[in-house]
Protein backbone atom coordinates (compact mmCIF):
# COMPACT_ATOMS: atom_id res chain seq x y z
CA UNK A 1 0.00 0.00 0.00
CA UNK A 2 2.94 2.34 0.54
CA UNK A 3 6.64 2.67 1.14
CA UNK A 4 6.29 2.38 4.91
CA UNK A 5 7.05 -1.27 5.46
CA UNK A 6 7.77 -0.76 9.12
CA UNK A 7 4.23 0.37 9.99
CA UNK A 8 1.13 -1.70 10.09
CA UNK A 9 -1.39 -0.84 7.37
CA UNK A 10 -4.39 -3.15 7.29
CA UNK A 11 -6.23 -3.59 4.02
CA UNK A 12 -9.47 -5.52 3.69
CA UNK A 13 -10.83 -4.15 0.43
CA UNK A 14 -13.16 -5.90 -2.00
CA UNK A 15 -12.80 -5.34 -5.73
CA UNK A 16 -15.98 -3.27 -5.71
CA UNK A 17 -14.60 -1.10 -2.93
CA UNK A 18 -11.34 -0.61 -4.83
CA UNK A 19 -13.22 0.47 -7.94
CA UNK A 20 -15.57 2.73 -6.00
CA UNK A 21 -12.66 4.36 -4.20
CA UNK A 22 -10.83 4.97 -7.47
CA UNK A 23 -13.94 6.42 -9.09
CA UNK A 24 -14.51 8.61 -6.04
CA UNK A 25 -11.14 10.29 -6.44
CA UNK A 26 -12.54 12.26 -9.35
CA UNK A 27 -15.80 13.07 -7.58
CA UNK A 28 -15.93 16.38 -5.70
CA UNK A 29 -18.27 15.17 -2.97
CA UNK A 30 -16.16 12.09 -2.26
CA UNK A 31 -12.93 14.10 -2.35
CA UNK A 32 -14.40 16.56 0.14
CA UNK A 33 -15.30 13.77 2.55
CA UNK A 34 -11.89 12.14 2.20
CA UNK A 35 -10.13 15.43 2.89
CA UNK A 36 -12.31 16.19 5.91
CA UNK A 37 -12.43 12.72 7.48
CA UNK A 38 -9.63 10.62 5.99
CA UNK A 39 -9.57 7.95 8.70
CA UNK A 40 -13.33 7.29 8.56
CA UNK A 41 -13.57 7.31 4.78
CA UNK A 42 -10.57 5.01 4.36
CA UNK A 43 -12.00 2.66 6.98
CA UNK A 44 -15.23 2.48 4.98
CA UNK A 45 -13.13 1.09 2.16
CA UNK A 46 -11.28 -1.40 4.34
CA UNK A 47 -8.09 0.64 4.72
CA UNK A 48 -6.79 1.24 8.23
CA UNK A 49 -3.89 3.71 8.38
CA UNK A 50 -1.90 4.38 11.56
CA UNK A 51 -2.29 7.94 12.80
CA UNK A 52 1.29 8.91 11.95
CA UNK A 53 0.59 8.32 8.26
CA UNK A 54 -2.40 10.64 8.13
CA UNK A 55 -1.33 14.27 7.64
CA UNK A 56 -2.99 16.96 9.67
CA UNK A 57 -4.11 18.76 6.52
CA UNK A 58 -5.05 16.35 3.77
CA UNK A 59 -4.57 17.72 0.29
CA UNK A 60 -5.57 15.44 -2.56
CA UNK A 61 -4.02 15.73 -6.04
CA UNK A 62 -6.10 17.34 -8.79
CA UNK A 63 -8.89 15.18 -10.13
CA UNK A 64 -7.50 15.44 -13.66
CA UNK A 65 -4.13 14.18 -12.45
CA UNK A 66 -5.77 11.24 -10.69
CA UNK A 67 -7.83 10.49 -13.79
CA UNK A 68 -4.71 10.35 -15.91
CA UNK A 69 -2.91 7.97 -13.55
CA UNK A 70 -5.93 5.70 -13.04
CA UNK A 71 -6.07 5.05 -16.79
CA UNK A 72 -2.56 3.64 -16.64
CA UNK A 73 -2.85 1.45 -13.55
CA UNK A 74 -2.37 -2.19 -14.54
CA UNK A 75 -3.87 -5.16 -12.75
CA UNK A 76 -5.75 -8.37 -13.34
CA UNK A 77 -8.94 -6.72 -12.24
CA UNK A 78 -9.28 -3.24 -13.71
CA UNK A 79 -10.08 -0.30 -11.53
CA UNK A 80 -12.20 1.36 -14.18
CA UNK A 81 -15.40 0.02 -15.77
CA UNK A 82 -14.00 -2.78 -17.97
CA UNK A 83 -14.98 -5.58 -15.65
CA UNK A 84 -18.63 -4.96 -16.30
CA UNK A 85 -18.33 -4.71 -20.06
CA UNK A 86 -21.01 -7.27 -20.86
CA UNK A 87 -23.25 -5.89 -18.20
CA UNK A 88 -23.41 -2.62 -20.10
CA UNK A 89 -24.41 -4.28 -23.36
CA UNK A 90 -27.86 -5.72 -22.74
CA UNK A 91 -28.57 -5.80 -26.46
CA UNK A 92 -25.69 -8.13 -27.07
CA UNK A 93 -26.81 -10.08 -24.07
CA UNK A 94 -30.17 -10.46 -25.73
CA UNK A 95 -28.85 -11.33 -29.13
CA UNK A 96 -26.53 -14.06 -28.02
CA UNK A 97 -28.19 -14.90 -24.72
CA UNK A 98 -24.88 -14.31 -23.04
CA UNK A 99 -25.68 -13.70 -19.44
CA UNK A 100 -22.99 -12.44 -17.11
CA UNK A 101 -19.93 -13.74 -18.82
CA UNK A 102 -17.79 -11.35 -16.86
CA UNK A 103 -17.00 -11.69 -13.22
CA UNK A 104 -19.26 -9.77 -10.92
CA UNK A 105 -19.07 -9.16 -7.24
CA UNK A 106 -19.63 -12.22 -5.05
CA UNK A 107 -23.19 -13.30 -4.65
CA UNK A 108 -24.70 -14.15 -1.32
CA UNK A 109 -25.49 -17.79 -0.76
Amino acid sequence: MNGHDDVDIQVRMTRAQAREFAEGLTDDEFRGRLEQNPREVLAQYGIELPSQLIPENVSLPQGSEVEQILETIPGGYPLRGEADAWFFYPILHLVFALAFLEEEEPYSA
Binding site: A22, G46, I47, G76, Y89, P90, L94
Partner: protein, 395 residues
Protein backbone atom coordinates in the same frame (compact mmCIF):
# COMPACT_ATOMS: atom_id res chain seq x y z
CA UNK B 1 -16.74 -18.54 26.48
CA UNK B 2 -17.61 -19.97 23.07
CA UNK B 3 -15.89 -22.86 21.39
CA UNK B 4 -14.70 -22.37 17.83
CA UNK B 5 -13.29 -24.51 15.07
CA UNK B 6 -12.01 -23.49 11.62
CA UNK B 7 -14.23 -24.87 8.91
CA UNK B 8 -12.57 -27.37 6.60
CA UNK B 9 -14.50 -25.75 3.75
CA UNK B 10 -12.27 -22.73 3.45
CA UNK B 11 -9.92 -21.57 0.70
CA UNK B 12 -7.47 -18.68 0.46
CA UNK B 13 -6.68 -16.63 -2.58
CA UNK B 14 -4.15 -13.86 -3.18
CA UNK B 15 -4.82 -11.20 -5.81
CA UNK B 16 -2.36 -8.57 -6.96
CA UNK B 17 -4.23 -5.44 -7.80
CA UNK B 18 -3.21 -2.08 -9.21
CA UNK B 19 -4.11 0.73 -6.82
CA UNK B 20 -2.82 4.08 -5.60
CA UNK B 21 -0.45 4.71 -2.70
CA UNK B 22 -2.90 6.06 -0.14
CA UNK B 23 -0.28 7.64 2.10
CA UNK B 24 1.07 9.62 -0.85
CA UNK B 25 -2.45 10.38 -2.02
CA UNK B 26 -3.28 12.14 1.25
CA UNK B 27 -0.19 14.32 0.70
CA UNK B 28 -1.22 15.48 -2.75
CA UNK B 29 0.60 12.97 -4.95
CA UNK B 30 -0.95 10.20 -6.99
CA UNK B 31 1.36 7.23 -7.36
CA UNK B 32 0.32 3.85 -8.79
CA UNK B 33 1.33 0.79 -6.78
CA UNK B 34 0.57 -2.93 -6.69
CA UNK B 35 -1.38 -4.18 -3.69
CA UNK B 36 -1.75 -7.80 -2.73
CA UNK B 37 -5.18 -8.51 -1.33
CA UNK B 38 -5.79 -11.82 0.43
CA UNK B 39 -9.24 -13.38 0.34
CA UNK B 40 -10.74 -16.08 2.52
CA UNK B 41 -13.40 -17.98 0.57
CA UNK B 42 -16.03 -19.76 2.63
CA UNK B 43 -17.96 -22.58 1.03
CA UNK B 44 -20.46 -22.23 3.87
CA UNK B 45 -21.51 -18.75 2.73
CA UNK B 46 -20.44 -18.86 -0.92
CA UNK B 47 -18.64 -15.56 -0.46
CA UNK B 48 -15.09 -14.32 -0.50
CA UNK B 49 -13.92 -11.99 2.23
CA UNK B 50 -10.87 -9.71 2.03
CA UNK B 51 -8.50 -10.44 4.90
CA UNK B 52 -5.13 -9.24 6.12
CA UNK B 53 -2.04 -11.36 6.74
CA UNK B 54 -2.78 -11.03 10.46
CA UNK B 55 -6.27 -12.42 9.82
CA UNK B 56 -4.73 -15.31 7.90
CA UNK B 57 -2.36 -16.11 10.75
CA UNK B 58 -5.22 -15.96 13.23
CA UNK B 59 -7.37 -18.28 11.11
CA UNK B 60 -4.61 -20.82 10.64
CA UNK B 61 -3.98 -20.84 14.39
CA UNK B 62 -7.49 -22.20 14.93
CA UNK B 63 -7.66 -25.97 14.39
CA UNK B 64 -10.24 -27.48 12.05
CA UNK B 65 -10.28 -30.87 13.73
CA UNK B 66 -11.02 -29.90 17.33
CA UNK B 67 -12.96 -27.27 19.26
CA UNK B 68 -11.03 -24.48 20.89
CA UNK B 69 -12.16 -22.40 23.89
CA UNK B 70 -11.72 -18.74 23.06
CA UNK B 71 -12.61 -15.32 24.39
CA UNK B 72 -14.93 -13.32 22.20
CA UNK B 73 -13.22 -10.71 20.02
CA UNK B 74 -14.50 -8.61 17.14
CA UNK B 75 -12.13 -10.45 14.81
CA UNK B 76 -13.47 -13.88 15.80
CA UNK B 77 -17.01 -12.57 15.58
CA UNK B 78 -16.39 -11.45 12.02
CA UNK B 79 -14.74 -14.76 11.15
CA UNK B 80 -17.80 -16.58 12.50
CA UNK B 81 -20.36 -14.39 10.70
CA UNK B 82 -18.43 -14.82 7.46
CA UNK B 83 -18.38 -18.60 7.78
CA UNK B 84 -14.61 -18.86 8.15
CA UNK B 85 -14.92 -20.53 11.55
CA UNK B 86 -17.87 -22.25 13.19
CA UNK B 87 -18.91 -21.84 16.79
CA UNK B 88 -21.03 -23.81 19.25
CA UNK B 89 -23.40 -20.84 19.65
CA UNK B 90 -27.08 -21.22 18.87
CA UNK B 91 -27.76 -17.71 17.57
CA UNK B 92 -28.48 -17.23 13.86
CA UNK B 93 -26.76 -17.28 11.45
CA UNK B 94 -24.01 -19.01 13.43
CA UNK B 95 -26.09 -22.11 14.12
CA UNK B 96 -27.05 -22.38 10.43
CA UNK B 97 -23.43 -22.10 9.36
CA UNK B 98 -22.43 -24.79 11.84
CA UNK B 99 -25.20 -27.05 10.52
CA UNK B 100 -24.04 -26.50 6.93
CA UNK B 101 -20.48 -27.29 7.97
CA UNK B 102 -21.62 -30.51 9.65
CA UNK B 103 -23.80 -31.38 6.66
CA UNK B 104 -20.89 -30.98 4.23
CA UNK B 105 -18.53 -32.76 6.58
CA UNK B 106 -20.86 -35.75 6.69
CA UNK B 107 -21.49 -35.80 2.95
CA UNK B 108 -19.51 -37.07 0.00
CA UNK B 109 -19.13 -33.62 -1.55
CA UNK B 110 -15.69 -33.21 -3.06
CA UNK B 111 -14.25 -29.99 -1.66
CA UNK B 112 -13.43 -28.53 -5.10
CA UNK B 113 -16.89 -29.34 -6.42
CA UNK B 114 -18.40 -27.80 -3.30
CA UNK B 115 -16.29 -24.66 -3.77
CA UNK B 116 -17.49 -24.19 -7.36
CA UNK B 117 -21.09 -24.93 -6.46
CA UNK B 118 -21.06 -22.60 -3.49
CA UNK B 119 -19.47 -19.70 -5.34
CA UNK B 120 -21.90 -19.92 -8.25
CA UNK B 121 -25.14 -19.96 -6.28
CA UNK B 122 -26.62 -16.75 -7.64
CA UNK B 123 -29.21 -14.97 -5.56
CA UNK B 124 -31.29 -11.98 -6.68
CA UNK B 125 -29.20 -11.41 -9.80
CA UNK B 126 -31.12 -9.27 -12.30
CA UNK B 127 -29.80 -8.47 -15.76
CA UNK B 128 -32.10 -5.42 -15.76
CA UNK B 129 -33.00 -5.71 -19.41
CA UNK B 130 -35.31 -3.29 -21.09
CA UNK B 131 -38.36 -5.30 -22.11
CA UNK B 132 -38.22 -4.87 -25.86
CA UNK B 133 -38.63 -7.43 -28.59
CA UNK B 134 -37.54 -5.19 -31.45
CA UNK B 135 -34.07 -3.68 -31.84
CA UNK B 136 -32.87 -1.94 -35.01
CA UNK B 137 -30.18 -3.87 -36.90
CA UNK B 138 -28.01 -0.75 -36.86
CA UNK B 139 -28.01 -0.75 -33.06
CA UNK B 140 -27.01 -4.41 -32.92
CA UNK B 141 -24.19 -3.68 -35.37
CA UNK B 142 -23.08 -0.69 -33.35
CA UNK B 143 -23.01 -2.59 -30.07
CA UNK B 144 -21.20 -5.48 -31.74
CA UNK B 145 -18.56 -3.14 -33.12
CA UNK B 146 -18.05 -1.53 -29.71
CA UNK B 147 -17.58 -4.87 -28.01
CA UNK B 148 -15.09 -6.01 -30.66
CA UNK B 149 -13.27 -2.69 -30.37
CA UNK B 150 -12.89 -3.24 -26.63
CA UNK B 151 -12.27 -6.96 -26.43
CA UNK B 152 -11.19 -7.96 -29.93
CA UNK B 153 -12.73 -10.73 -31.98
CA UNK B 154 -13.67 -14.08 -30.46
CA UNK B 155 -11.80 -17.18 -31.64
CA UNK B 156 -12.86 -18.24 -35.18
CA UNK B 157 -16.25 -19.93 -35.51
CA UNK B 158 -14.76 -22.95 -37.27
CA UNK B 159 -11.63 -24.72 -36.18
CA UNK B 160 -9.24 -26.94 -38.08
CA UNK B 161 -6.21 -28.66 -36.60
CA UNK B 162 -3.10 -27.43 -38.37
CA UNK B 163 -0.99 -30.40 -37.31
CA UNK B 164 -3.39 -32.95 -38.86
CA UNK B 165 -1.49 -35.67 -40.72
CA UNK B 166 -4.20 -35.98 -43.35
CA UNK B 167 -7.59 -34.40 -44.13
CA UNK B 168 -10.19 -36.76 -45.57
CA UNK B 169 -13.51 -35.27 -46.69
CA UNK B 170 -16.54 -37.30 -45.68
CA UNK B 171 -19.55 -38.12 -47.88
CA UNK B 172 -22.54 -35.86 -47.25
CA UNK B 173 -24.72 -38.57 -45.72
CA UNK B 174 -28.32 -37.43 -45.27
CA UNK B 175 -31.25 -38.83 -43.29
CA UNK B 176 -34.78 -37.61 -42.73
CA UNK B 177 -37.80 -38.50 -40.63
CA UNK B 178 -38.30 -38.98 -36.90
CA UNK B 179 -35.20 -38.14 -34.93
CA UNK B 180 -33.47 -36.48 -37.90
CA UNK B 181 -36.37 -34.09 -38.44
CA UNK B 182 -36.37 -33.23 -34.74
CA UNK B 183 -32.65 -32.56 -34.89
CA UNK B 184 -33.15 -30.27 -37.87
CA UNK B 185 -35.96 -28.41 -36.11
CA UNK B 186 -34.15 -28.04 -32.76
CA UNK B 187 -33.56 -24.41 -31.91
CA UNK B 188 -33.78 -22.07 -28.93
CA UNK B 189 -36.99 -20.10 -28.63
CA UNK B 190 -37.03 -17.14 -26.28
CA UNK B 191 -40.33 -15.48 -27.07
CA UNK B 192 -43.54 -17.49 -26.90
CA UNK B 193 -47.10 -16.88 -28.03
CA UNK B 194 -49.09 -15.53 -25.12
CA UNK B 195 -52.30 -16.70 -26.80
CA UNK B 196 -51.44 -20.39 -26.57
CA UNK B 197 -51.41 -22.71 -23.60
CA UNK B 198 -49.66 -26.02 -23.31
CA UNK B 199 -51.96 -29.05 -23.52
CA UNK B 200 -52.00 -31.82 -20.91
CA UNK B 201 -50.97 -34.39 -23.50
CA UNK B 202 -47.93 -32.32 -24.47
CA UNK B 203 -47.00 -31.87 -20.82
CA UNK B 204 -47.35 -35.59 -20.12
CA UNK B 205 -45.37 -36.54 -23.21
CA UNK B 206 -42.57 -34.16 -22.32
CA UNK B 207 -42.31 -35.32 -18.74
CA UNK B 208 -42.44 -38.99 -19.61
CA UNK B 209 -40.09 -38.99 -22.58
CA UNK B 210 -37.56 -36.59 -21.07
CA UNK B 211 -37.65 -37.17 -17.33
CA UNK B 212 -39.68 -40.39 -16.95
CA UNK B 213 -38.36 -43.79 -16.00
CA UNK B 214 -38.41 -46.37 -18.78
CA UNK B 215 -36.58 -49.16 -17.00
CA UNK B 216 -34.69 -50.11 -13.89
CA UNK B 217 -31.88 -52.37 -12.84
CA UNK B 218 -31.37 -53.61 -9.30
CA UNK B 219 -27.62 -53.79 -8.87
CA UNK B 220 -27.77 -55.13 -5.34
CA UNK B 221 -30.30 -54.92 -2.56
CA UNK B 222 -31.35 -51.28 -2.17
CA UNK B 223 -29.26 -50.09 -5.11
CA UNK B 224 -31.38 -49.44 -8.17
CA UNK B 225 -30.27 -47.79 -11.39
CA UNK B 226 -32.86 -46.11 -13.57
CA UNK B 227 -33.17 -45.91 -17.32
CA UNK B 228 -34.24 -42.63 -18.85
CA UNK B 229 -34.02 -41.54 -22.46
CA UNK B 230 -30.85 -39.60 -21.58
CA UNK B 231 -27.65 -41.04 -20.11
CA UNK B 232 -26.57 -40.46 -16.51
CA UNK B 233 -23.34 -41.12 -14.64
CA UNK B 234 -23.63 -44.57 -13.08
CA UNK B 235 -27.28 -44.76 -14.14
CA UNK B 236 -28.05 -42.89 -10.92
CA UNK B 237 -30.16 -40.08 -12.42
CA UNK B 238 -29.87 -37.44 -9.68
CA UNK B 239 -31.80 -34.79 -11.62
CA UNK B 240 -35.27 -33.89 -10.37
CA UNK B 241 -37.71 -31.66 -12.23
CA UNK B 242 -40.12 -29.15 -10.76
CA UNK B 243 -42.60 -27.86 -13.37
CA UNK B 244 -43.45 -24.18 -12.95
CA UNK B 245 -46.74 -24.05 -14.82
CA UNK B 246 -47.95 -20.67 -16.03
CA UNK B 247 -50.59 -21.69 -18.55
CA UNK B 248 -51.30 -25.39 -19.00
CA UNK B 249 -54.81 -26.55 -19.86
CA UNK B 250 -56.51 -28.16 -16.87
CA UNK B 251 -53.75 -27.33 -14.39
CA UNK B 252 -53.60 -24.57 -11.82
CA UNK B 253 -50.61 -22.29 -12.29
CA UNK B 254 -48.01 -23.13 -9.68
CA UNK B 255 -44.96 -25.09 -8.71
CA UNK B 256 -45.14 -28.87 -8.99
CA UNK B 257 -42.77 -31.78 -8.56
CA UNK B 258 -42.69 -34.55 -11.12
CA UNK B 259 -42.95 -37.86 -9.30
CA UNK B 260 -41.05 -40.16 -11.64
CA UNK B 261 -42.09 -43.37 -9.91
CA UNK B 262 -45.81 -42.66 -10.41
CA UNK B 263 -45.60 -40.41 -13.47
CA UNK B 264 -47.58 -37.86 -11.50
CA UNK B 265 -47.44 -34.18 -10.64
CA UNK B 266 -47.26 -33.18 -6.99
CA UNK B 267 -48.57 -29.65 -6.43
CA UNK B 268 -46.24 -27.77 -4.08
CA UNK B 269 -47.50 -24.19 -4.39
CA UNK B 270 -50.59 -22.83 -6.10
CA UNK B 271 -50.15 -19.47 -7.83
CA UNK B 272 -52.06 -17.36 -10.31
CA UNK B 273 -50.66 -17.01 -13.82
CA UNK B 274 -49.11 -13.54 -13.36
CA UNK B 275 -47.44 -14.71 -10.14
CA UNK B 276 -46.06 -17.77 -11.89
CA UNK B 277 -44.74 -15.62 -14.75
CA UNK B 278 -43.09 -13.20 -12.32
CA UNK B 279 -41.48 -16.12 -10.53
CA UNK B 280 -40.14 -17.35 -13.87
CA UNK B 281 -38.66 -13.89 -14.43
CA UNK B 282 -37.07 -13.87 -10.97
CA UNK B 283 -35.62 -17.37 -11.37
CA UNK B 284 -34.24 -16.50 -14.84
CA UNK B 285 -32.47 -13.36 -13.56
CA UNK B 286 -34.80 -10.97 -15.36
CA UNK B 287 -34.45 -12.55 -18.80
CA UNK B 288 -37.94 -11.22 -19.35
CA UNK B 289 -38.72 -13.17 -22.52
CA UNK B 290 -38.75 -16.52 -20.71
CA UNK B 291 -41.78 -15.53 -18.65
CA UNK B 292 -43.80 -15.75 -21.86
CA UNK B 293 -43.36 -19.54 -21.77
CA UNK B 294 -46.48 -21.40 -20.58
CA UNK B 295 -44.37 -24.01 -18.82
CA UNK B 296 -40.93 -23.93 -17.27
CA UNK B 297 -39.11 -26.81 -15.64
CA UNK B 298 -36.71 -26.20 -12.76
CA UNK B 299 -33.90 -28.74 -12.81
CA UNK B 300 -32.38 -29.68 -9.46
CA UNK B 301 -29.90 -32.36 -8.47
CA UNK B 302 -29.95 -34.71 -5.54
CA UNK B 303 -26.17 -34.53 -5.37
CA UNK B 304 -25.66 -37.27 -2.84
CA UNK B 305 -27.18 -39.80 -5.22
CA UNK B 306 -24.32 -39.31 -7.67
CA UNK B 307 -21.77 -38.72 -4.92
CA UNK B 308 -22.76 -42.06 -3.40
CA UNK B 309 -20.72 -43.60 -6.20
CA UNK B 310 -18.49 -40.81 -7.45
CA UNK B 311 -16.53 -38.82 -4.89
CA UNK B 312 -13.73 -37.45 -7.03
CA UNK B 313 -13.05 -34.01 -8.44
CA UNK B 314 -15.06 -34.73 -11.60
CA UNK B 315 -18.19 -35.85 -9.78
CA UNK B 316 -19.78 -32.40 -9.81
CA UNK B 317 -19.19 -32.16 -13.56
CA UNK B 318 -20.99 -35.49 -13.96
CA UNK B 319 -24.09 -33.98 -12.32
CA UNK B 320 -23.97 -30.88 -14.52
CA UNK B 321 -23.62 -33.04 -17.62
CA UNK B 322 -26.61 -35.12 -16.56
CA UNK B 323 -28.70 -31.94 -16.59
CA UNK B 324 -27.27 -31.04 -19.99
CA UNK B 325 -28.20 -34.44 -21.46
CA UNK B 326 -31.78 -33.97 -20.28
CA UNK B 327 -31.85 -30.49 -21.76
CA UNK B 328 -30.94 -31.78 -25.21
CA UNK B 329 -33.59 -34.50 -25.01
CA UNK B 330 -36.08 -31.83 -23.90
CA UNK B 331 -35.22 -29.77 -26.98
CA UNK B 332 -35.68 -32.75 -29.28
CA UNK B 333 -39.02 -33.82 -27.84
CA UNK B 334 -40.22 -30.20 -28.05
CA UNK B 335 -39.07 -30.01 -31.67
CA UNK B 336 -40.97 -33.19 -32.45
CA UNK B 337 -44.09 -31.73 -30.81
CA UNK B 338 -43.73 -28.50 -32.79
CA UNK B 339 -42.92 -26.52 -29.65
CA UNK B 340 -40.20 -23.98 -29.11
CA UNK B 341 -37.88 -24.57 -26.17
CA UNK B 342 -35.04 -23.00 -24.22
CA UNK B 343 -32.40 -23.84 -21.64
CA UNK B 344 -30.76 -21.32 -19.35
CA UNK B 345 -28.07 -21.72 -16.72
CA UNK B 346 -28.26 -17.99 -15.91
CA UNK B 347 -30.61 -18.63 -13.03
CA UNK B 348 -30.90 -17.55 -9.42
CA UNK B 349 -30.35 -21.00 -7.99
CA UNK B 350 -30.41 -19.75 -4.39
CA UNK B 351 -33.84 -18.19 -4.99
CA UNK B 352 -35.11 -21.42 -6.53
CA UNK B 353 -33.71 -23.47 -3.64
CA UNK B 354 -35.39 -21.21 -1.09
CA UNK B 355 -38.73 -21.38 -2.89
CA UNK B 356 -38.57 -25.15 -3.21
CA UNK B 357 -37.47 -25.53 0.40
CA UNK B 358 -34.26 -27.37 -0.46
CA UNK B 359 -30.88 -26.60 1.10
CA UNK B 360 -28.79 -26.31 -2.06
CA UNK B 361 -26.28 -29.00 -1.10
CA UNK B 362 -28.20 -32.21 -0.47
CA UNK B 363 -30.49 -31.02 -3.27
CA UNK B 364 -29.94 -27.85 -5.27
CA UNK B 365 -31.13 -26.09 -8.41
CA UNK B 366 -28.93 -26.10 -11.51
CA UNK B 367 -30.82 -24.75 -14.51
CA UNK B 368 -34.19 -24.07 -16.10
CA UNK B 369 -35.76 -25.29 -19.33
CA UNK B 370 -39.06 -24.18 -20.77
CA UNK B 371 -41.28 -24.52 -23.79
CA UNK B 372 -44.38 -23.35 -25.60
CA UNK B 373 -45.73 -22.26 -28.94
CA UNK B 374 -43.22 -19.81 -30.46
CA UNK B 375 -44.34 -16.23 -30.91
CA UNK B 376 -45.22 -15.33 -34.49
CA UNK B 377 -43.52 -11.99 -34.05
CA UNK B 378 -40.44 -11.54 -36.18
CA UNK B 379 -37.97 -10.75 -33.40
CA UNK B 380 -34.27 -10.98 -32.85
CA UNK B 381 -35.10 -13.02 -29.75
CA UNK B 382 -36.00 -15.92 -32.01
CA UNK B 383 -33.25 -15.61 -34.64
CA UNK B 384 -33.37 -17.55 -37.89
CA UNK B 385 -30.07 -19.14 -38.84
CA UNK B 386 -28.87 -19.29 -42.43
CA UNK B 387 -28.58 -22.86 -43.72
CA UNK B 388 -25.09 -24.23 -43.93
CA UNK B 389 -23.81 -27.15 -46.01
CA UNK B 390 -20.19 -28.18 -45.55
CA UNK B 391 -17.99 -27.45 -48.56
CA UNK B 392 -20.87 -25.64 -50.34
CA UNK B 393 -21.65 -22.70 -48.08
CA UNK B 394 -19.23 -19.97 -47.11
CA UNK B 395 -19.82 -18.73 -43.57
Amino acid sequence: MPKVRRTRFLFFYAEDRGFVDVTELLRGTVKPISVQQLYAISILTGQEHPITEADLDALLAIPSDEWLDVSETSQLGEFARNGLIVTDEDALPLAELRQRDQQLDGSAWNVYGALYHSMTRWRDVDVELEERTQVPDELIDEVGRKVVAKGGLPPPHFHGVERALEVRELPMARATGGLYDALAERRTTRLFSTNSSLGERELALLLYYVFGCHGYLELTEGVVGLHRTSPSGGGLHPIEVYPLLVSVEGYDPGIYHYNVERHALELLERLDAPQAAELADEFACGQFYFKSAPALFLLTARFNRTFWKYRHERAYAVVLLDAAHLSQTFYLVCADLGLGSFFTAAVNVANIDARLGIDGFSEGALAVVGCGVPSEEDTFLNPVFEPYVPRQTRA
